[in-house]
């Protein structure tokens, strides 16, 4: 049965149903509903809720909890995640499959628009801490998808023993949609989890295990790419967009299709690993790619440029980039598309 759920609360409930045993969080707009929801919901089920005194404490407490082999999560936004970076790189080095939810706000520093954007894209997909590492980063575009991705997040994370992030946005967190909640599932203690007696220091520092970590990241790149294609059959122009922006793009694609334009949408669901295979699967008719995103300087374009460089048939394809700091209407996307077709806009060089 479908119910009306607020985005942030829906993510929290999905995490509970996926077997979250410990939630640690600190209030920050626009993700505070997750903290509030968990404060009531977790004790109700005999699980642990801790409100921390800073995001540094959040992540380090979650690392401690997750080392016992149970499913643990934290959530934050903007500067909160920046503050967590020392713990996030540690979680990767310690091979801890914890769940991080980033309800993206907007802009640098304190941040401005709580409606959000995807301007944490580069920080979150590259790993904002020291050393080279990646979180698996999944970007939902609807509340139902946010629920489904949260529900399966630990399954993926535990498979590779790699931390995972759901990168949602302020708008998606604050709005309400009809959602089909999944059933509660079992989440037994992982066999590598602390038992108090194991002599083997499994959670040692990265130091001598570089090859192991590289192999892990390669395996994730190979098996965990996710994307959605929308009306890309016979498309000459493919728009690449993710998150809330992709929803508006779908509207723009529908309008353009009605006007007889051959336009489609490729929506990365995993921002890392970036869906290179999604580009490989695009039809031969594609002549140009337009990357549309919500940020101040164009971030997703970097991944698209790297991807198209790798694939022979895209190497000389013109690529265009539209970015604005705040979510913009379909009209502006259509205007930009028209300018691209009439060669008023220059391709990215």
């Amino acid at each position: 049965m479908k119910e009306l759920w607020k985005g942030n609360e829906a993510i929290a409930e999905a995490a509970v149903r996926a077997g979250c045993k410990l939630y640690v969080g600190y209030p920050i707009t626009p993700q505070t509903e997750i903290v509030e929801y968990m404060s009531a919901r977790m004790p109700e089920l005999g699980r642990k809720f801790i409100q921390s005194e800073s995001e540094i404490i959040s992540i380090n407490t979650v690392i401690g909890g997750a080392m016992t082999g149970y499913r643990c999560m934290t959530s934050s936004s903007g500067v909160g995640i920046s503050l967590m970076q020392e713990g996030l790189t540690d979680a990767f080095a310690k091979s801890i499959p914890l769940l991080l939810v980033n309800v993206n706000r907007c802009s640098c520093g304190m941040g401005g628009d709580f409606g959000g954007s995807t301007d944490d894209y580069l920080r979150d997909t590259r790993g904002g801490g020291n050393g080279d590492y990646h979180f698996i980063v999944m970007v939902p575009s609807t509340i139902q998808e946010a629920v489904d991705l949260t529900y399966c997040a630990w399954d993926i994370a535990e498979k590779y023993r790699n931390p995972i992030e759901i990168m949602t946005e302020g708008r998606l967190g604050q709005m309400m949609e009809c959602v089909e909640m999944p059933e509660f599932k079992e989440s037994p203690k992982q066999e590598w989890g602390f038992d108090g007696t194991t002599k083997f220091m499994d959670f040692g520092p990265m130091r001598d295990h570089d090859a192991k970590y590289k192999a892990r990241m390669d395996a994730i790149r190979e098996h965990e790419q996710r994307w959605e294609e929308y009306r890309t059959e016979d498309a000459e122009t493919v728009i690449v967009a993710l998150g809330m922006c992709s929803r508006v793009c779908k509207g723009a694609v529908n309008i353009l299709r009605e006007q007889g334009e051959q336009v489609g949408l490729l929506r990365p669901i995993t921002a890392w690993p970036f869906p290179v295979k999604g580009f490989e699967a695009l039809p031969e008719t594609v002549k140009r790619i337009i990357v549309m995103e919500v940020d101040n300087d164009g971030q997703v374009i970097e991944d698209v440029l790297i991807t198209t460089k790798k694939l022979t048939r895209f190497q000389n394809m013109p690529i265009y980039n539209l970015y604005k700091p705040h979510l913009y209407p379909a009209d502006e996307m259509i205007d930009y598309y028209r300018k691209v077709i009439s060669e008023e806009e220059k391709e990215v060089s």
Binding site: L22, N60, I63, G64, T68, G87, G196
Partner: protein, 241 residues
């Protein structure tokens, strides 16, 4: 109490400097853990610095190395999901009172049911002897070449103000004090095992290498100078209503 003449089974040879207090501290903690039957069933949460040598020296139980200053909150995460396992932290003074001051105070304020040991050698030992909050007034270090200005930080009044059930300061600088220290450690560990309560023990430890003293001189320095600033003793309010 049983007398221990043999070296604890689970303690390996260690890598600390000659005259360092850590070897004695590790041995005392392990002796008590053997007496309490948790030497094979515990989780040690450590910090960064000289105490990183403990990861090689302590052989039973699980170990985790935390980022600088974060050990108490990490221990709290573990304790939340494994409430029946003995969880303790050992941190240095830079770890506990500088970068990790927030975590130290919060752990005490929230009474996480863990046992916190802070080893105070009045400087950052592993990085070569820089000024720490605990460095004595006038003490010369590599970052206070003209001697430190200001007072050394004293955690015990803070802990008492926070109202923790048990806090103590001991030292490894004399045999009599080592015996007292073992009693402090025993009480702190008992408090977690029997009553699930937070306890804090600071241990003044000599650092001959960075103090540029012989091991004996370093011990005398603690007994003659350091304890004037940082007095020894225990404060037990766990039995009070």
């Amino acid at each position: 109490m049983a007398k221990y003449t043999k070296y604890p089974e689970l303690l390996s040879p260690n890598g600390w400097c000659p005259g360092c207090g850590y070897g004695i501290i590790a041995r005392l903690i392990y002796e008590v853990m053997e007496e309490k039957g948790v030497s094979q069933n515990h989780i040690y949460v450590g910090g960064v610095g000289c105490n990183a040598n403990l990861y090689g020296a302590l052989e039973g139980g699980n170990k985790v190395e935390c980022h600088h200053g974060r050990a108490p909150v990490c221990a709290n995460g573990i304790k939340a999901l494994m409430p029946d396992t003995f969880v303790f932290t050992i941190q240095g003074d830079g770890d506990c009172y500088a970068i990790g001051m927030g975590e130290t105070i919060i752990a005490a304020h929230n009474r996480f049911p863990i046992t916190v040991f802070a080893v105070n050698n009045a400087n950052y030992g592993m990085t070569g002897g820089q000024t720490a909050p605990t460095t004595l007034t006038g003490q010369v270090t590599t970052t206070s070449p003209k001697g430190k200005e200001g007072k050394p930080f004293d955690i015990i009044p803070q802990m008492r103000a926070l109202g923790v059930d048990y806090c103590a300061r001991g030292t490894t600088a004399s045999l009599a004090e080592i015996r007292k220290l073992k009693k402090y450690i025993t009480k702190a560990i008992d408090l977690q095992l029997q009553e699930r309560k937070y306890a804090f023990v600071e241990i003044l430890s000599p650092c001959p290498t960075n103090w540029h003293k012989s091991p004996l001189e370093a011990n005398e320095y603690i007994m003659n100078n350091v304890i004037k600033y940082l007095p020894l003793g225990e404060y037990d309010t766990s039995k009070e209503e």
